[in-house]
Symmetry: C2
Subunit: 669 residues, 2 copies
């Protein structure tokens, strides 16, 4: 049952959602109305957050996976005392407001992750719950459980229809992430109408199959029932075989709107002022739009509770630091996202080792060599692979695997590229760890929107994408990424590195780790690549994203190349030198970094007057920006073939002869 004040609290959420969507003449009132009692139960009775300290490390995480219900979280944040004034709610969905159409991390205090693309918030939450377990295992002591919080999720039918919900739930169940508690807004309606015609899963049975603790269905409009279910989930989490919990809350979409409740019409359009007036009458809500009585504000206010929680935690942290000074400062450093104090030395060691490497490793192997230095030295690095650990080479020496009862340094995510990427986003958002994860470059497609979300949220996430082109050989066109390198470069705020040898790979890794404001894709070869650099001092030039690798005589032409094609360009330049034609070879392992350099630097590397040939075993068209109209691009604009790699490079024209001929044609010879 729901007490009178709870009803009022729920209705405050409802009317803020109705008034804001009406004011914006845009938005989704249906879900906030339907989830109002669920929100009262969770936020009033259970959620441990501190409105004045929204980033307090040990707060419970709350993820609104059905992000179109954004007005619900804005109303909650406003009412509980976060820095989100009423004026911002009045400017819902307007340019520059803190109340964007979908909740955006970094934009609104208290928003833990950006949601809207369905299913991903849920997977982010799995990442947060995993990060909690990892950090707790690393830092907590029995007396000082400094990292000890729940991760709560609201999610809807859409999230559960998306495939990523399967991937994330299956892994969360296998790992028994018991402090993950999800409330399913089971309203039976999606945009096309009543879901039974396209979504008839027995969701309770489905989640039981994943080894979840399933509660319900319960009445999602009964605050006491929802609150009791959450209490039960928390108690269950503390048992030896604790599991993640799904609470199935039967609700009515648009609950409270006499005109539209229970229909899909209320999902994605404001109800209008007339329906709002009728709703005020029906619910006995005499207040004007955006007017909330003080008593309801007072009932919602979580600031005093938050202050107490933070003060208690700070005291515990102080005691911890006194007892374990080293671990204490390490924990502080990690939560602040700062790199180890000896980071410069680590880099120097790494570059020296890479430059000294006598072999000609594939860059995926060079990456593992780098991880063998970085892994032990940077304990926040948390690795994984989507079931390709021994192909992506993401594990490092001594990296303990993650298991149900062992929260180590490397996770076999299973064949779940999309969930892996979204879980990594959740780990990064949690703070305390730098996640990296591997798959084949071609399967970045599966994860693409989560990579985009990391870029949008400016999260430090590293994607290790191996088998970078036709050079993977016999697995053929399904596995040969042709368009993927350029298409990743198109995602704003994603750095894409395609290193050419061990030193470039090492630099790419350090750039990815140093980058605090966005994700990085490391695009690596399956096949061995000739060693280019022996001087670790070259690292600073490489870090610029583009630099001169070699120059023969007075250059008449410039070759631009990346990754496996740099050595091809070097060979072509030598051939031309034998023909008394001077040239320059430029390696651009990271176009984004190079483009961010001052113009004078770029012009010094790519002089304007000289004709240019770009060479990359990928779709050519993005390179025209760099070679200009009088330039040429040697690339691949069709799908690959199944054959040994060396035959494929010849078949697709990546030969010294063709590069030389292309240069000669440009030079008019």
């Amino acid at each position: 049952m729901t007490e009178p004040i709870q009803t009022q609290m729920a209705n405050a959420l409802r009317f803020l959602a109705v008034d804001a969507t009406n004011a914006a003449n845009s938005g989704h009132p249906g879900a906030p109305l339907g989830m109002a009692e669920m929100a009262v139960a969770l936020w009033r009775d259970h959620l441990r957050v501190a409105p004045q300290a929204p980033t307090w490390p040990n707060r419970d995480r709350f993820v609104l996976s059905n992000g179109h219900a954004s007005m619900l979280i804005y109303a909650l944040l406003h009412l509980t005392g976060f820095d989100l004034p009423l004026d911002e709610l009045k400017r819902f969905r307007q340019l520059g407001s803190k109340t964007a159409g979908h909740p955006e991390y970094g934009h609104t205090p208290g928003v833990e992750t950006t949601t809207g693309p369905l299913g991903q918030g849920f997977a982010n939450a799995v990442g947060m719950a995993l990060a909690e377990k990892l950090l707790a295992a690393e830092f907590n002591t029995p007396e000082h459980p400094l990292i000890d919080h729940f991760t709560y999720v609201f999610l809807g039918d859409g999230c559960l229809m998306e495939g990523i919900s399967h991937e994330a739930a299956s892994l969360a169940g296998t790992l028994r992430l018991s402090k993950l508690i999800c409330l399913y807004d089971d309203n039976g309606i999606s945009i096309d109408g009543a879901v039974s015609d396209w979504f008839s899963d027995d969701t309770a049975q489905r989640f039981a199959a994943y080894h979840w603790n399933v509660i319900g269905p319960i009445d999602g409009h009964d605050v006491a029932a929802v609150s009791a279910a959450i209490a039960q989930a928390k108690a269950q989490a503390a048992t030896p075989d604790g599991k993640p919990t799904l609470i199935i809350c039967r609700t009515t979409i648009g609950k409270g709107s006499p005109v539209k409740e229970g229909t899909c019409d209320i999902h994605g359009a404001p109800i209008g002022t007339e329906a709002a007036a009728k709703m005020r009458e029906a619910l006995g809500w005499p207040y004007a739009p955006f007017e909330i009585p003080e008593a309801i504000y007072a009932a919602w206010d979580k600031r005093a509770q938050g202050e107490t929680l933070v003060a208690e935690w700070e005291a515990q942290l102080a005691a911890y630091c006194a007892a374990y000074p080293e671990k204490g400062s390490e924990l502080k450093r990690r939560l602040a996202g700062e790199l180890p104090a000896d980071w410069k030395d680590i880099k120097a060691r790494l570059f020296a080792a890479a430059a000294a490497d006598e072999g000609n490793p594939a860059t995926r192997k060079a990456s593992q060599n780098a991880l063998n230095v970085l892994g032990p030295a940077v304990p926040e690095l948390f690795g994984g692979s989507a079931d390709l650990t021994h192909s992506n080479l993401t594990d490092f020496k001594g990296a303990t695997p993650v298991r149900r009862d062992q929260f180590g340094r490397h996770l076999s995510y299973g064949v779940r590229e999309f969930a892996m990427a979204a879980i990594m986003n959740g780990i990064a958002l949690h703070k305390g760890l730098i996640p990296y994860g591997g798959t084949f470059l071609v399967f970045s497609d599966y994860a693409r929107n989560a990579i985009r979300m990391a870029a949008l949220m400016q999260q430090r996430v590293v994607h290790v994408l191996t088998h970078d082109s036709i050079g993977l050989g016999e697995d053929g066109p399904t596995h040969q990424p042709v368009e993927h390198i350029p298409s990743l470069r198109l995602i704003p705020n994603l750095d894409v590195w395609r290193p050419a040898d061990a030193l470039e790979t090492a630099v790419a890794w350090t750039a990815a780790i140093e980058r605090a404001d966005g994700p990085t894709a490391l695009v690596l070869s399956r096949q061995n690549l000739p060693k280019i650099h022996t001087d670790p001092g070259k690292a600073s030039e490489i870090a610029c994203g583009g630099y001169v690798v070699a120059e023969h005589g007075t250059p008449q032409i410039v070759f631009i190349a990346t990754g496996s094609e740099v050595s091809l360009a070097l060979q072509a330049a030598e051939r031309l030198a034998e023909m008394m034609v001077g040239s320059r070879v430029v390696s651009i392992p990271c176009v984004e970094r190079f483009a961010a350099q001052p113009e004078h630097y770029r012009a010094s590397i790519l002089p304007e007057g000289l004709p240019k040939v770009a060479i990359e075993a990928a779709h050519p068209d993005l390179w025209y920006r760099w070679v200009g109209a009088n330039g040429a691009v040697i690339g691949i604009d069709r799908f690959g073939e199944s054959a040994p790699a060396n035959e494929l490079f010849a078949h697709f024209g990546f030969t010294v002869e063709r590069v030389v001929a292309t240069a000669q044609a440009l030079l008019g010879r």
Copy 2:
């Protein structure tokens, strides 16, 4: 139990897989070895195919969803009498062979779909089973069940971990696609090792939650048990509440290889000649590599059976055509992939209607208007949307919805973008229907690899991708595609149309329907766009992909634009004309079509000497190929914002003033 000849038949598959991977020194022997008995049970006892007529319309479909087991299907096709000689098996994974690393549709007779990217083959099969139901509902009569076949799938742990398996299975269960029979190779091993540490689902319970008929676990190495399970599934399919079936077959990966069976080592690497010799000894197989005794060939041969099946079916088709001449010739046309005889008239009507439209519809609305003409006139069009029917506007007047007991013309796929795309691929591969489906352009990310697979397989699939840029407004950056238009253009063999008005939209639709060798993406606006064309005769120019929309005086500059930016370019050109500066406005609704035109045509549209400005509310870099070094691009290289659309266009600089200023700067004024 497995009879002696069955053991021999299974071992023939095993040794062909071992010998071919050894010869290639590349490939995946583990799964073919593990699934050999499953293959005997299905292919010998149940599968109705015709080796000499591999495209016989009523054949059972067989999909190897775990495509890395490609040698299994190559061995099956060879042994049963398809046109795949032993020499091709000896050239496994070599350039130009018919035995690519992963099975490729159109490359090898008998391969129904290209597999390798895990989970997609399973979803393709859902599409095939759906197409069977749709065509059966449309054409079959009680006496003449012309379309009446099963769709069989082999799949592995990887397919079941992928999220797409959830989306596809959930929809298949809801729709009760009872003639879909899947055999799960439950070997407990994936690339990282024993799956229990990352994949512990109770798969039987999971599929029961989807309303599947689940059989097993059974012994996957017992031919009789597998065969009986398939028989049971077929019988169940014929019951009133028939459901799709999952048969869980417990197997041992690499079965038969005494050295490596049951380990992940055998998954992705040849076992070598020594281990092959030991295996020959262990299994009592005295034959040389690639040697198969005649008795085993004879036992496998399905040619006689196939001839009978085809002859019976042809007789039935003849009887059907005699009884229902119109439906008979319609069925033949549809299965042949030919457009209606009056296609030219349909187009003319469509273009006339679009040109006559007095309004200024959003192109998504113009698309629905086009569908209102095309839907009734082209009965093979089969629509759908990933739960955005009323946003994508994919339904047309009179389109009956698909329900469990009603196989109509439009399907609510649910919030399942990836499965929708892969199911559409399966529908197209089946033949008889042209599938199209809608989602928001930004969520093409979720479906991206299936769009790629359609392009690789050259399938006629139409993606209706609405809400094409910042013009969608308040939903904000999570929903605003910035990089998606160019990133789709990078996929080889995908045509991307971004029409500017109703006529361009109509032309785009006809181009998509006429295109028999690849998929098309229609990128459509949410917001209304000014009408540009009143003359339907302009359609032939539009069909070239790029053409001159307007010219003022003697052009000194060329504007290139697409979609919503064409009208902006037209306004800028008028402003310049007022300033006595001549210009040309070129619309390029489809870059791929334009690029495919002869050089003289392209040069006539984009004359070499003139400076060029490209305008598109998307990532700019691909346009440098077209504007050259002395050109400019007005685009968006960062994420969008949440605000009303008109404010956003101003905010991101899509204004007449900026376009004019950019032109003036290029002209040195």
